[in-house]
């Protein structure tokens, strides 16, 4: 029992803010041979520590072969799942030497139950019995995927110990609540443990674990080294927390940001622009990066390596005036926008035509696209009308997103907006297909329906405006009710 207390204390130290959950789990497990609840569902936000805590907890408290860990995304078929579980329970790992064989062949739930009942023969003399004395654990991570494996698997797993008459505890880990698991036929309900969000204090504690315990030394230009201690880091992470916690509850993301911003934060200390204790000054210097990080880094518009590369490049090219450095770093970060792609001339018009077809109501096609003599009059009416509509009903297509259109309509628009006369070339349908593979158009009808295919245009207004500008087409004139 003393042993148990040690474990629990150690775990609580490693996982700040999770002591209640650790206690609950440990008490549910009891001693190795105690019967347990048939199933437990642990749910909580992404990176709330489900996977790492459960794995740590099991590996510190019980022998390795007593528990099996399965990621349901990777083991996406029942066979992979069961075979892997049994392999782990028998300390067997398929490898080159054993020709990648599993210890037993288990094709479905039924085989699995048989194996549980009769044990796994390891060799002529010994058979591994599963769950006859000590409890075996089956951890299923990403358990929401179990729902896709067939209707019977999940209910059976939830009461596995009852069906198999063995001492087995199934632990499901998921980011979604149990209500979403329920099947129509009803099933045994697992015991639910929630991993709540961390408080500010917990978060800071966890963040601090990334920072080495006895601080760190950094080299400072011409003045040897300077020691950064825990408090320094704490004040840094507090600010990060206060900036980002509004829109980022994800612990991993926070750690990501901390790791990437910290080097920038201490840069001024390195080149002697600020002292360690001048936190306010440091923050002022780092402020522009933080602002940039909120959208670019967090949305991964810039990846960690690009960020690291650019910022370190900047740090290398040391400039004397602090202001220019920062400005140029920001500029460098922003130049990410490069790399828009070009389309062939007529393909651009096809895309424009699709956009028009997606966002204009068909009844106005004649008004916009008919090449008749009294074009002038019609245009006028169009402008007048759209001006009065500008106030905008709620049902504006612009707000509703693209509508599906038949190809014929789009082609009619296409032929009316291009200036030159085109022979009906074979390339047009080819280009439609290629726009579809590029996902600039989306086909809304099934592929097996060859007749009357419908498409949607999948590009933003800014994008299409760019395209239109490049071919000198005034798209604004042709859009109905756009702001």
């Amino acid at each position: 029992m003393n042993d148990m207390a040690d474990h629990s204390a150690e775990l609580k130290r490693r996982f700040p803010g999770r002591s209640d959950q650790i206690d609950t789990l440990l008490s549910l497990m009891g001693r190795p041979a105690d019967p347990t609840v048939p199933s437990i569902l642990i749910y909580g936000h992404s990176s709330s520590g489900k996977t790492s805590l459960v794995r740590d907890l099991l590996s510190t408290t019980i022998a390795r072969k007593q528990w099996a860990y399965i990621n349901c995304i990777e083991r996406h078929t029942p066979r992979m799942m069961f075979e892997h579980a049994v392999n782990e329970w028998c300390s067997w790992s398929p490898s080159w030497d054993n020709q990648f064989t599993s210890i037993a062949r288990i094709d479905n739930l039924n085989d699995f139950l048989c194996v549980l009942k009769e044990g796994v023969p390891l060799n002529q003399h010994s058979t591994e019995m599963i769950g006859d004395k000590e409890t075996r654990y089956l951890v299923l991570d990403r358990a929401e995927r179990l729902r896709d494996m067939g209707a019977t698997i999940l209910p059976a797993l939830l009461r596995l110990s009852e069906i198999s008459q063995r001492n087995i505890c199934v632990i499901l880990l998921s980011t979604i609540v149990y209500e979403k698991f329920r099947t129509k036929s009803g099933s045994y309900e697992p015991l639910v443990i929630r991993f709540p969000e961390y408080s500010k204090e917990d978060t800071l504690q966890i963040l601090r674990r990334d920072f080495s315990e006895d601080g760190m030394d950094i080299e400072v230009e011409d003045k040897g080294t300077v020691h950064l201690n825990d408090d320094f880091f704490r004040s840094f992470s507090e600010v990060i927390y206060s900036i980002f916690f509004q829109n980022c509850k994800d612990l991993n993301e926070l750690r990501h940001l901390v790791a990437l911003l910290f080097p920038l934060f201490i840069n001024p200390i390195r080149d002697g622009r600020a002292k360690t204790h001048e936190t306010a000054k440091l923050f002022k210097l780092a402020q522009p990066y933080f602002a940039e990080a909120t959208d670019k880094l967090y949305l991964r518009e810039i990846s960690s390596s690009e960020w690291a590369k650019r910022t370190s490049e900047m740090a290398d090219a040391k400039t004397t005036t602090s202001h220019t450095v920062d400005a140029s770093v920001i500029a460098a970060i922003r130049t990410n926008a490069k790399g828009d792609f070009d389309l062939p001339y007529y393909t651009k018009f096809l895309l424009i035509a699709s956009y028009l077809a997606s966002y204009n109501p068909p009844r106005f096609d004649v008004r916009y696209f008919a090449k008749v003599a009294d074009e002038k009059k019609k245009k006028k009416r169009g402008i007048h009308k759209s001006a009065s509509d500008k106030s905008g009903g709620k049902m504006r297509q612009q707000l509703l997103g693209p509508k599906a259109f038949p190809v014929e309509r789009m082609l009619a628009i296409f032929y009316s907006i291009i200036d030159d006369k085109l022979d009906d070339a074979i390339d047009i349908p080819v280009q439609i297909t290629s726009l579809t593979t590029l996902r600039l158009l989306l086909r809304t009808t099934n592929m097996d329906k060859l007749d009357g295919a419908k498409y949607k245009c999948n590009v933003s207004f800014d994008f299409i405006r760019g395209v239109a500008r490049s071919v000198r087409f005034e798209i604004d004139k042709y859009l109905f009710d756009f702001i």
């Binding site: 990777e74 790992s93 194996v115 796994v120 494996m149 901390v258 790399g339 062939p344 007749d451």
Partner: protein, 787 residues
């Protein structure tokens, strides 16, 4: 309606395609290949020589035909090499960068510069932006793949890589994707083999799992049976299990324990946009699960922009990746270089005439940006030229124009016949040439027309040589022109790209000689001030140096004084008191020159003696006076006016240009922009064009002959109908026409009906009509034409 609904129902035959498909398909595939082989053998026998036939109604000597066929092979090989080389060259640096990225992907470098480690190790991912023409990517990605694999072979120091190339078409679900990936990695090592037993096993296991997947329940009756057979038996992992890859990798690493860098596993995802994003998310998740055990590097090919990535992947999947971006050259860079290499430069290959050239340009820029279709188009050009033109044996070969000796030899070998001479005389360019000279030199004209021998061995080589020299000179002048144009960057509106200038050169009757751009350039040069003039002269002399390196004979052989370009440029520079661009080099190349042309000797020596101070003094004087630059600029302007109008003439003026320029646009258009609808309409409406029978050909297009094809008759009746076609009326009308054929005797009702139904089905299949529910016994008419 039901009767014909079923008739046109199609069925699709899907052949196994992937060479590394499932093992169970192997046997079938082998026989399939055998079939292919036999197929090609028999067709080869029939066609012989890749389908080349003897022309002149079969009178062409066998050897000539052979020569054409060989020349085609040769020239296509050469051209293909240029095309491929340019492609590799343009992307070389990006390839290098990617390779470097992969090599360093798992070497922790920046991790140490940052003071803290990231919360988890992201998968290093290269985003490769490859341009929008996805079919072209096959080639590029195989090249990247083979480079990544190849780098291991070159040196022991760099990290060897294993590569799996995934394409969306063989990754329709996660399981297949995984299997595909794992098999490709394992295939790199030969000693992993499937035994036959396994194959069977896998097959029935797959079947079982599919069943399981579908309903998830199993029949209890089976279980007892399974129990006795299956339990206790060890079984191999399914071939899409990541553990196999893991175990294999351990094995590989153990084997090569001597080298200290570990091989990377590169997973290439060629066409990101076409993948199902959920599959990719799962794949990334799995890879990330193994991040500590397997050094996986992802390489994602993106056709559009990184937006695509952000749109289709979830935030959590994105955060698994550590992306870096690489841009391959857009295909138009390649295209421009190719045009430069193949057409603008005076290479000894077939060139495109104005219309095929324009076709190529238009097609590329207006429609598809496709490298593949440019290649196809060029190959087709060559093929057609050598296939159908008996005179193609006189086209330039092996980098030289056909010389006199070669022609004499050909004649001795009996490759040239009277037919060839006749053919030459029928060429339009030849006839104009005769017209031109018959006044001035009637004897020569007569001789050309009468004396086969003279024509073939004397005149033809001379013509070809002239044409060749025209190419050289006009290329040189063309370069001067583009250089001069580049000196006026501010006049962007008037500037023309090289390819458009070349198009103009081809298209205009007298080339660029009197074109607007020439007038524009000349007038601009006239107005240049001293500073601009120096710049211009500098770039001109640089051009000169380039020329000297590559082809020194070009200018020194320059027949005429006007083109004694070097001397002039040097003279002008001197008068403006400019320092030489690069004294040594210039001197050196001048030295070369001295040996060749004697006239140049004197001014060169003068130049050598001139001291720098003298120059400076002169410069000063010039600045003071200000008169000299005006004079020089006028001279330059006159000079370029002269050379432009003399050497930028159209190729059409040269006799026998047909041997080098391919101008047959009709066939090209028909082959590359077919108009299926139009041909179907003609086939039905004027069937006589297609079936060559005399009875149906009537002058009156609209009339219906009873002798015609049933479907044609029905089609013509169809043309008279409105939007809705009453089937019964149509049938009756059809019956009347058929009756006329039988001499107005009653035809068996059943026969009429059968023929009617068959034709209706055909029209439906061709897309002329469609069934409708709106009106009973009616079909909808789908096409409208103005004929």
């Amino acid at each position: 309606m039901e009767e014909f609904d079923s008739i046109s129902e199609g069925c699709f035959l899907v052949m196994p395609k992937s060479a590394r498909g499932r093992p169970s398909l192997k046997k079938r595939k082998r026989s399939y290949k055998a079939i292919n082989a036999t197929n090609s053998r028999s067709s080869k026998m029939k066609l012989g020589d890749a389908g080349f036939q003897r022309l002149f109604d079969g009178d062409e000597p066998e050897a000539s035909m052979q020569l054409r066929s060989d020349s085609y092979d040769n020239s296509w090989r050469q051209m293909k090499k240029v095309l491929d080389d340019v492609l590799i060259e343009t992307n070389q640096s990006t390839f290098d960068q990617i390779e470097e990225f992969v090599t360093n992907a798992h070497i922790p470098t920046y991790a140490s510069t940052g003071t803290m480690s990231l919360p988890f190790h992201e998968i290093p991912t290269a985003l490769v932006f490859a341009g929008i023409n996805t079919p072209d990517h096959d080639n590029l990605f195989t090249q990247i793949a083979s480079r990544l694999i190849g780098s291991s072979a070159q040196s022991d120091m760099s990290t060897p890589n294993y590569v799996a190339l995934l394409q969306s078409r063989d990754c329709s679900n996660l399981r297949i994707t995984m299997r595909n990936m794992i098999e490709q990695f394992l295939a790199a090592d030969v000693d992993y083999d499937h035994s036959d037993e396994d194959v069977e096993e896998e097959e029935n296991e797959d079947a079982m799992e599919l069943g399981e997947d579908a309903d998830g329940s199993k029949k209890p009756a089976n279980d007892q049976f399974n129990l006795s057979t299956m339990r206790g038996r060890k079984s191999r992992l399914p071939n899409y299990d990541m553990q196999i890859l893991d175990g294999w990798y351990r094995h590989v690493v153990e084997k090569q324990s001597n080298s200290f860098s570990l091989p990377n596993l590169v997973v290439m995802i060629q066409d990101f946009e076409s993948f199902d994003p959920t599959i990719l998310e799962d794949l990334f998740e799995i890879c990330s699960e193994y991040r500590s055990r397997l050094p996986i590097v992802l390489l994602i090919g993106i056709a559009t922009s990184s937006n695509a990535l952000h749109q289709s992947l979830s935030k959590s999947a994105l955060s698994l990746l550590r992306t870096e971006k690489f841009w391959l050259q857009q295909s138009d860079v390649w295209f421009n270089k190719v045009i430069d290499e193949l057409f603008i430069k005076p290479t000894q290959s077939i060139k495109l005439g104005p219309r095929p050239y324009k076709f190529l340009l238009d097609h590329f820029y207006l429609f598809d940006f496709s490298i593949g279709s440019v290649m196809a188009s060029l190959q087709f050009t060559l093929m057609h030229h050598y296939y159908a033109n008996p005179l193609s044996i006189l086209s330039p070969m092996n980098d030289t124009p056909v010389s006199k000796e070669m022609l004499v030899k050909m004649q001795e070998d009996g490759l040239l016949t009277a037919d060839h001479a006749t053919h030459i005389r029928m060429l339009r360019s030849f006839r104009t040439h005769i017209d031109d000279i018959c006044e001035k030199d009637p004897n020569e004209a007569l001789r050309l027309l009468d004396d086969d021998n003279y024509l073939m061995t004397e005149a033809v080589p001379r013509f070809l040589e002239d044409l060749n020299r025209h190419h050289m000179l006009s290329y040189a002048v063309f370069e001067i022109m583009t250089t001069i144009q580049a000196c006026f960057p501010t006049f962007a509106g008037l500037r023309r790209s090289k390819r458009m200038l070349y198009l103009e050169l081809l298209e205009n009757e007298d080339g660029l000689a009197n074109s607007e751009i020439v007038r524009w350039l000349v007038s601009l040069v006239r107005k240049m001030d001293l500073e601009a003039l120096t710049g211009l002269l500098k770039s001109l002399s640089e051009l000169l140096l380039d020329d000297n390196e590559s082809d020194s004979s070009l200018w020194s052989e320059g027949v005429s004084d006007e083109l004694d370009y070097k001397k002039k440029v040097v003279g002008w520079m001197e008068r403006l008191g400019m320092e030489e661009v690069d004294d040594d080099q210039e001197e050196e190349s001048l030295g070369d020159e001295v040996k060749k042309t004697k006239e140049e000797k004197l001014p060169d020596l003068d130049l050598g003696r001139q001291t720098k101070t003298a120059k400076r003094v002169k410069m000063y004087i010039i600045k003071k006076k200000g008169g000299e630059p005006v004079k020089v600029s006028n001279e330059i302007a006159d000079w370029i006016q002269l050379i432009f109008s003399r050497y930028l003439g159209s190729f059409v003026a040269w006799p026998l240009h047909e041997l080098v320029y391919y101008s047959n646009i009709k066939l090209h258009e028909k082959s590359f922009t077919p108009q299926p609808r139009a041909s179907i309409q003609t086939a039905l409406g004027q069937a006589q064009h297609y079936i060559n029978c005399s009875c149906c050909s009537s002058k009156d297009v609209g009339s219906i002959q009873p002798t015609e094809q049933d479907t044609s008759i029905l089609y013509k009746l169809y043309l008279e109908c409105g939007r809705m076609i009453n089937l019964y009326d149509w049938f009756v009308a059809f019956g009347c026409v058929i009756e006329r054929e039988k001499g107005n005797k009653k035809v068996d009702e059943n026969e009429v009906q059968a023929r009617f139904i068959r034709s209706v089905a055909e029209l439906q299949f061709l897309g002329f009509i469609k069934a409708t529910q709106r009106k009973t016994d009616h079909v909808v008419r789908l096409t409208w034409s103005h004929t």
